[in-house]
């Protein structure tokens, strides 16, 4: 039995459910907006049950799970919903079932500088980064690198922006809260989805600093691409090292041919890339869930 915890309104979840159906895999779908109930016992192994409006299953019958709940949904019995989320996350952490992805591994995305240090340790070049509450150090870093961007440190989604002379007056505000600045790395963006040992690479050409928020006249162009073997291997290594059997890596190739890794997305919205260039990412995830090829 394969558990899919997520909403069918969320395209990646819908695509995975569809592909699992094509494989004839037995699935229990737990949608966050529904009434779910989880009983979890951990004093003798990991046991309990999950019930949804359509089905109930012993947790030890679940062999694999795809988690993309995207946060708890507000509604009646909020306390009960929070406990359900908590118990399912704990189950995912403790079970021997194959999980895409373990919650504690996904949590690495909640601190981007830590993730960058991990990526650097496995051999990826990462942009020079300064996180600070010291405005003078920001100015020094800016002078050193010429072009600098700033973005959130945590998993809170933010638009990557270039630091400009108009920001000079606001630099004093970093005293209130540590702020992340990064060397701007020029070049072409690549998104690599690692699914087990399979790789799907997409080239993204866009004039905007953050293609996710490009305006109409900067609309990104996506195309199928391939990477040097060394970068392919490093991408697989990142997946294993970060404990993320499914991961979306944001890479950038500079005009000089250097490869930088900007970020690792532990719950990638791969449907955007699959929809544009037809890469069969959901099918690969479904195969991985039914067979599993990475042990933690």
């Amino acid at each position: 039995m394969i558990l899919v915890w997520g909403s069918l309104q969320d395209p990646p979840v819908a695509l995975v459910v569809d592909e699992l159906a094509k494989l004839g895999a037995p699935v229990i779908l737990a949608e966050p907006h529904e009434f779910l109930h989880v009983e979890l016992q951990t004093h003798k192994g990991v046991a309990g049950f999950l019930s949804t409006p359509r089905a109930s299953v012993d947790l030890d019958r679940i062999t694999a799970a795809y988690l993309r709940p995207n946060g708890s949904v507000a509604g009646p019995d909020q306390r009960g919903r929070e406990m359900t989320d908590r118990n399912l996350l704990l189950w995912a952490e403790l079970t021997s079932a194959f999980i895409i992805n373990h919650p504690s591994s996904m949590a690495g995305n909640n601190t981007k500088p830590l993730q960058a240090m991990q990526l650097h340790r496995i051999g990826f070049a990462v942009p020079a980064t300064l996180v600070t509450t010291d405005p003078d150090r920001v100015r020094q870093f800016w002078r050193q690198h010429g072009q600098v961007v700033y973005k959130s440190i945590s998993g809170t989604r933010s638009i990557v922006r270039r630091l400009t002379p108009a920001d000079e007056d606001r630099l004093a505000d970093v005293r209130w809260c540590p702020t992340q600045f990064q060397q701007y790395v020029p070049g072409v963006e690549y998104r690599v989805h690692v699914v087990g040992s399979e790789l799907f690479t997409c080239r993204i050409e866009c004039a905007a600093d953050d293609y996710r928020y490009a305006t109409d006249h900067q609309r990104p162009t996506l195309s199928e691409a391939s990477l040097p073997d060394s970068i392919n291997e490093r991408s697989r290594l990142a997946s294993r090292h970060l404990g993320l059997p499914l991961v979306g890596l944001d890479l950038r190739r500079t005009p000089d041919g250097d490869w930088y890794c900007l970020e690792a997305n532990p719950s990638p919205a791969f449907s955007y890339y699959e929809g544009h260039i037809g890469q069969p990412i959901a099918a690969a995830i479904a195969r991985l869930l039914t067979h599993g090829d990475i042990s933690r």
């Binding site: 003798k44 406990m83 403790l94 919650p103 500088p113 240090m117 650097h120 020079a128 509450t133 809260c177």
Partner: protein, 226 residues
């Protein structure tokens, strides 16, 4: 400079730092992330902070007694900004601690500023896996540990030292649990009304007002004692 990172409400941590101020120990609370000069450079990772108007430097050791920074830790910030700032500060401090090459007790994980941030069920599971009996929790299934018995045995693991164990067997259980959680510093409560002892509670923030525990923590942080 030795840092004790703790909430403003953590009186034992404050007292511990004040008593060792002459030996370079300083208390740092989440609000100090808005009052001091902090920096993290990477790659590969260099963490510095300036306290007491001195130049920025790397501390020689850090004791961490926080799981994450909450909105309520930041009363000096405007209410609408507190949630975002708390998440950003937690993310920063996690990475800042991770980059240090000096003793950090306990080191951060992706989910907690101090250790693995285990819920009670994870302690229960770890203990059960090692064959260590656990006091049954209530049937509420809400993650609350069992009620601490009136008479329990509090055992603290601080690196190689064990404080409070009444017998070598309980000391061994405590050591094994600490190792499983990857914690250098932890207090565990065991029952004393039966054999073998059963695990009742676990906390990575031991009582620093206990002189024996404070001395063991001094050793972990390499605080010089007068």
């Amino acid at each position: 400079m030795i840092l004790v990172v703790a909430g403003w409400y953590d009186t034992p941590a404050r007292r511990y730092a004040v008593e060792r101020r002459a030996h370079g120990v300083r208390l740092v609370t989440p609000a100090d992330l808005s009052r001091r000069q902090w920096s993290l450079d990477l790659p590969p990772g260099r963490s510095i902070v300036a306290l007491d108007d001195g130049p920025p430097e790397q501390p020689s050791a850090v004791l961490v007694r926080l799981d994450y920074i909450r909105d309520s830790d930041l009363p000096h910030l405007a209410q609408p900004d507190r949630g975002y700032a708390a998440a950003e500060m937690t993310a920063f401090l996690t990475a800042w601690l991770y980059a240090l090459t000096v003793p950090v007790v306990n080191p951060p994980s992706t989910v907690c500023l101090s250790g693995p941030g285990w819920a009670w069920e994870q302690w229960e599971h770890a203990a059960a896996t090692m064959g260590i009996p656990v006091q049954p929790a209530s049937a509420s299934n809400n993650g609350d540990p069992p009620a601490t018995p009136a008479i329990g045995q509090l055992v603290t693991v601080a690196g190689d030292r064990i404080v409070g164990a009444s017998d070598p067997y309980t000391a061994l259980l405590a050591r094994r649990l600490a190792r499983a959680a990857g914690l250098q510093l932890i207090s565990l409560t065991f029952t004393t009304d039966g054999i073998p002892p059963r695990l009742v509670a676990a906390t990575p923030w031991p009582n620093l007002t206990d002189p024996d525990i404070a001395e063991a923590v001094d050793d972990l942080l390499r605080v010089e004692r007068s």
